[in-house]
Point group: C2
Chain length 357, copies 2
């Protein structure tokens, strides 16, 4: 029986997409081959990469002067690729609002002066610093943010207005709410939350910014090279890109990003309202900065938290354990989580609260 | 109808493996989730990574003091990872026996003195230089070879005996013939030939060699970091590793590397004998260095080559077009290509020769 999977990534995918992939798993597009076997130079496969790119451009409204590429290694590899492609002047600003933001900043320090201009660790990353009051570095090559913090469950409610290009790790929220791509120099995201199975990372970059990577940048991390080769410089993660295309087709059928944003906001409101009105559960993020993708909550008792996670699993609500840095529970309610999944979670939470008064 | 797929990679996979993956695609190990959805921290998934590692160790006889890790980015990313992990003294030797060997050498030059000590481009890479007569550089950090050349269809018949650790790109032949892992400092291979769908790369490295990557090495390219985290430093390419485990289980059932080597040698002999005895087809590699994985051949007429490829496709023998650097045809006959596939190819070649005298 299919469960409701609240994992932070890899995470739930649309059931109809999984069914389609299963159905054609041994015979992709009538080729007599699995999509896992076909050459990436085959016309039938090239249309997958081109299709995934075209859907990304359409659904996010990516301007023509931006590259859209599919690469490997996860957002963690992009933590290095960002400075290696952009840090010409040797310094960049970082706003540290969570675990991955911190890792990106630390990686930046390998390649130059990575200046931490904001940091919300003083209150366990429960808020986002006021971006209008930060001291941006003159001549910085870029300003790096993590737009949604998977582990702590916060997100930016407004963007930094800075002279330097804004670079955003959007791994845990890309395609979940409308954005204006022109506000950013570079957007990158590991796919395994809203886009596809793990193994592919999307990078959207203004072409004028990426023409001269640092000399020490590995060829495979050069966005320009990947762009010039249409994401086929070497063998791509073919299956993950294929799945991304199916997911994006499904998102388009559902009405696109604007429509899914409404659903996401509805799901998040249901859950936050319930938490705020309950006596047992608590979410610590300042309401303005609450993520609509990742919703951590605690009971205040580690023992009760553990019991919650175990009993929820028995009830078919899985992967609700919070990250070890936060403890408690976390419900990741990405695009593919049905409203019914959130409702089932709330019903379970009610029942658990009653039983554990 | 299932075709015989002679693609160089991504390439054919065992049909029974595909069927198993298809069957459990929506419900992995009774979890109620697809293996593409499950958290990489879930116990059910951790056993996949550990299982793939254990099977690799068993099937290749990997000594305990070697790391076995699964990473992303293909062999092309390892072209940079090799110097970034090993080039402490600032110089290394490269033997250039094909296109990817050349790319590895060029990437090495980004990070130090990459000395080309052998080069078979004078005869279009149709042979391997005599490794006993090369002028190895004193104090080199390593000697890099590409053990099997996918595009040109050659392979080493003996290994360099050098003081420096031997580093081998085995992408297109790993698990196809017996090796002694202790002969190497590092072995790496993109999975999409003999191991799994594209998206995962295996690295086998002597631990004593990989303790201090260069300071500029991206964290994700540090083999030590990946080893210490059991390939789970960040989200791994979960589906490709899952498929690798299934393929390795299948290989073990078939009798392991020794048994598949016999089959591979038999398949290759069938095809080379036929080519050598035909009047139409020609393979240009010196017999001693002929690959048992990739078999290029030409008719001598570009027009006839194109006709061959087109008609073969109609007959269910696909992806036989040679690489653009070589032209003609190429039959990649990896572990998963059945003997019947090679026989069907030979029958087609006979018929085509008769019809095109």
């Amino acid at each position: 029986m299919r469960v409701y999977n609240f994992a932070a990534g890899p995470s739930t995918l649309p059931e109809c997409v999984l069914e389609k992939a299963q159905k054609e798993f041994l015979d992709f597009a009538g080729t007599g081959m699995s999509v896992t076997e076909i050459s990436h130079r085959d016309k039938a496969y090239e249309s997958v990469v081109k299709g995934a790119e075209a859907l990304t451009r359409e659904l996010l409204g990516v301007p023509d002067d931006y590259a859209v590429i599919f690469v490997q290694g996860g957002a963690s590899t992009q933590f290095a690729a960002v400075p290696l492609n952009l840090m010409h002047g040797g310094k960049a600003d970082y706003i540290v609002t969570g675990n991955f933001a911190k890792k990106a900043w630390q990686e930046g320090k390998l390649y130059g002066e990575a200046v931490k201009i904001g940091d919300s660790s003083d209150k366990v990353y429960t808020y986002i610093p006021d971006v209008d009051k930060l001291d941006y570095t003159d001549g910085a090559d870029y300003v790096h943010i993590t737009s949604n913090n998977t582990i702590f469950g916060s997100r930016y409610s407004k963007l930094p207005k800075c002279k330097a290009p804004l670079v955003a790790d959007m791994s845990s929220e890309i395609f979940s709410r409308e954005i204006n791509v022109s506000d950013f120099g570079v957007i990158y995201a590991g796919a395994q939350k809203n886009l596809a199975p793990a193994g592919v990372t999307i990078v959207i970059a203004k072409r004028s910014l990426i023409q001269e990577p640092l000399a020490i940048c590995p060829t495979m991390l050069r966005w320009k090279v990947q762009d010039e080769n249409g994401s086929l410089y070497n063998t791509p993660p073919a299956f993950s890109i294929y799945m991304a295309k199916l997911v994006l087709e499904n998102l388009k059928e559902k009405g696109g990003v604007k429509a899914i944003q409404q659903v996401n906001e509805y799901k998040a409101k249901l859950l936050y309202d319930f938490i705020d009105n309950s006596k047992l559960y608590k979410n610590n993020i300042l309401p303005e900065f609450r993520s609509i993708m990742n919703v951590p909550f605690v009971t205040g008792s580690e023992e009760l938290d553990a019991k919650f996670v175990a009993e929820a699993k028995k009830a078919g609500l899985v992967s609700l354990k919070g990250h070890r840095l936060v403890g408690g529970m976390r419900a990741s309610i990405y695009n593919a989580m049905p409203v019914d999944g959130v409702k089932a979670l709330i019903e379970f939470m009610k029942k658990f609260e009653t039983e554990n008064k």
